[in-house]
Symmetry: C2
Subunit: 129 residues, 2 copies
């Protein structure tokens, strides 16, 4: 007799979390409402906290802060503090691992644009099988 029947499937584990599928693992790291947006902006290069806020005015300070910490913990971005006299300066940039996400992020962006462009024409061309 086996004890637990639900955990015997192949789980993908990373950073202490387990995922039911390799796509879930990826989504666990870049999923959520803001992470891909942050990564998308960081593709251009390092940005400061305030610069990120300017580019994403809808996000709150708290949420941005939390998402940045999560991304940093997962080693997708790195946080650099410039120890000059105040005002404080902190910049965020992609890690090497984070840079490997570039094609993925770009494809996410492209697909979003594709859907935007096609949603009207698709309504007309509506092919049903």
């Amino acid at each position: 007799m086996e004890h637990e029947k639900n955990q015997q499937l192949q789980d993908f584990v990373y950073q202490g979390k387990s995922y039911p599928c390799c796509t879930s693992l990826t989504m666990g790291l870049i999923g959520g409402k803001w992470k891909t947006v942050i990564l998308y902006h960081l593709l251009q290069g390092p940005l400061r906290y305030s610069e990120l806020r300017q580019q994403m005015p809808q996000v709150t300070e708290r949420t941005l802060s939390l998402q940045l910490k999560a991304l940093e913990k997962d080693q997708l971005i790195k946080r650099k503090v410039y120890h000059q006299k105040p005002p404080l300066k902190v910049s965020y940039s992609l890690t090497d691992l984070g840079k490997t996400l570039e094609p993925l992020i770009l494809q996410l962006a492209q697909w979003g644009e594709l859907v935007m462009q096609n949603q009207i024409s698709m309504a007309q061309a509506q092919t049903e099988k």
Copy 2:
């Protein structure tokens, strides 16, 4: 070719929802814990409700049902009912739009596998600046 630094805070709207970035739009459609897993399995071909459950034993009936409806509403999958005498048969498959997600889903899967493979070697090679 330079693009505007001052990107307007234009929202991306699809299916009545608005997103702050084109990547958000994509994530809004395939984000969450289960949608990419469902799509990943449907890449092989149509599957019945019970077959999906077998391939994703960790998901509950309710959640699978909700996610399938969301994907259907966003026109990424289609639901086909076979009107035979009971037992009822329903199959889910990708729409044409859903099929355009194939490269993206595969890339999500590949990146997840990459991270799994590299997480040990990265712990050693840990380059810090």
